[in-house]
């Protein structure tokens, strides 16, 4: 209990004093995860839409695979990206290992299946409901798809937020491919893991509180966007 109180106080201090290291760590966390989610959104949403509105051989197999990949262990992804980017690996001469780019790559792999699977489900349900109506109104397939993306925007946004939650909270993959290098690849989660290993439990917990705070701020921003845009019934 005492640790919780200590941690809350410490978190408050860190935030109010706008600790320079904290700001650096937080901004790298956000930069890496937002970029990863943006890339994963482009890929995941496209693939999700494709799987939702087309029918081809092997489609169900792909859907099952993508759904299963939502449960990818971050450490396995980290290891895979590490082996790819290692100097001894196939992409070694890119020199990306232990850089923020490597962390983005790992998180894209982690997040894409989540966004893809959730948006596929959303868009497929909408497609069943809308397809004939949109065709009847004269929409071509491209226009119909754009309409579906817009009609399902809040569900899709939730899918993207789920991906962001996974990315910002993940430690296993970024630790392996980033290396937790001070001022270079040290993000919130790897700092928390490191402080825990130093026995600084209160500090680790304080950083955890701040991480939750950031996640809440991002979610609030998205939520207010939605409140603002929805036409009122009355």
């Amino acid at each position: 209990m005492k640790e919780l109180v200590d941690a809350a106080q410490m978190a408050w201090q860190l935030v109010t004093q706008s600790d320079a290291t904290l700001i650096e760590t937080v901004s790298l966390s956000l930069k890496v995860s937002l970029l990863a989610v943006a890339c994963a959104t482009v890929v995941g949403l496209s693939l999700g839409a494709l799987l939702a509105v087309t029918r081809f051989r092997g489609r169900k197999l792909i859907i099952v695979t993508v759904n299963a990949l939502m449960g990818l262990p971050p450490v396995v992804v980290g290891l895979f990206v590490y082996l790819m980017l290692s100097r001894a690996g196939p992409l070694g001469n890119w020199g990306l290992l232990f850089t923020p780019s490597a962390m983005v790559i790992a998180q894209v792999i982690l997040v894409t299946p989540i966004i893809c699977a959730l948006s596929r489900q959303t868009l497929e349900d909408l497609w069943v409901e809308y397809a004939e109506q949109l065709r009847s109104l004269g929409a071509d397939p491209g226009q119909a798809l754009r309409t579906l993306l817009w009609e399902g925007r809040y569900s899709l946004l939730t899918a993207i937020l789920a991906g962001f939650g996974r990315a910002i909270a993940e430690v296993g993959a970024v630790l392996i491919v980033g290396g937790n290098i001070a001022h270079v690849t040290r993000v919130m989660t790897t700092t928390i893991a490191m402080e825990t290993s130093r026995g600084n439990l209160a500090l680790a917990l304080a950083l955890g509180f701040i991480l939750i705070l950031i996640a809440m701020l991002v979610n609030c921003a998205v939520f207010s966007l939605r409140e603002f845009r929805t036409p009122r019934a009355a």
Partner: protein, 249 residues
């Protein structure tokens, strides 16, 4: 009255009507849902496809509208269907309204058909007025009452001033007052020169609206006659029973 509404002007000689079905069949596996249906629809008052539930009315409208290709036979239009596709529209029994406002639902159709924006505003306003939805323009479509939703669906299908408008059981789920309002709207639309093709199982409604009747029974077209003739002297036993109220569902 029509010229003002011809936003997308076809070459003067080309019109969609007459619509001709030639031995149209629709088969799902072993089951024949439409059985060698042939008829021709000319410009004029509303044609009502009448029949009990399961007679194939909805399916026939979908095939004519172009949503489903017939498994045999063909649907022929007077003009080039591919060019004039946008000049016929359909309202489903359960129309899907977009999750946006009433005005945006109608404007959506104008937008995807790339109607110039100056005309869009004008057209939108006149359609809202004719359908009595002006006061609801900013309302979210999905919170409207059943009757209002149906009128919106009609407005949306009619906004491009189609030459032919298919209506599938447009009042099936409405109370009497809303039914009357929708029927009045249909009559108004028909008066502008739009050909109405309406399916219903509601005998009194058919009597109120129809200029001619196509009587459908178990996938077969049994009669195609002017309404007055049909109601006075139905030819087939099935139609006879239906008119007497013995063949209801």
């Amino acid at each position: 009255m029509r010229p003002e509404m011809l936003l997308i002007t076809p070459s003067a000689s080309e019109t969609l009507l007459p619509l001709t079905c030639v031995e149209v069949e629709y088969r799902v596996g072993e089951i024949l849902l439409l059985d060698k249906i042939s008829f021709t629809l000319q410009p004029g008052g509303p044609s009502v496809v009448l029949g009990a539930n399961g007679a194939g009315k909805t399916l026939l409208l979908r095939v004519c509208h172009g949503l489903l290709p017939p498994t045999a036979g063909r649907v022929q239009w007077g003009g080039n269907f591919h060019e004039l596709k946008r000049r016929q529209a359909m309202v489903f029994q359960r129309p899907v309204l977009l999750q946006r406002s009433v005005a945006e639902n109608i404007d959506y159709v104008l937008a995807i058909h790339q109607v110039p924006s100056a005309q869009r505003v004008k057209r939108l306003r006149s359609v809202l007025e004719l359908t009595g939805l002006s006061g609801l323009a900013g309302r979210a479509a999905r919170v409207l009452s059943g009757g209002e939703q149906q009128r919106l669906a009609l407005a949306r299908a009619w906004v491009l001033a189609p030459e032919v408008l298919f209506l599938d059981e447009p009042t099936a789920n409405l109370d009497p007052a809303a039914t009357r309002a929708v029927e009045q709207l249909i009559t108004d639309i028909a008066a502008t020169g739009t050909k109405i093709v309406l399916s219903t199982h509601d005998l009194p409604q058919a009597q109120r609206l129809a200029a001619e009747i196509l009587f459908l029974h178990r996938g077969r077209l049994l009669e195609h006659t002017p309404a007055a003739t049909f109601f006075a002297r139905p030819q087939s036993p099935a139609a006879n029973a239906f008119v007497r109220g013995e063949l209801w569902w």
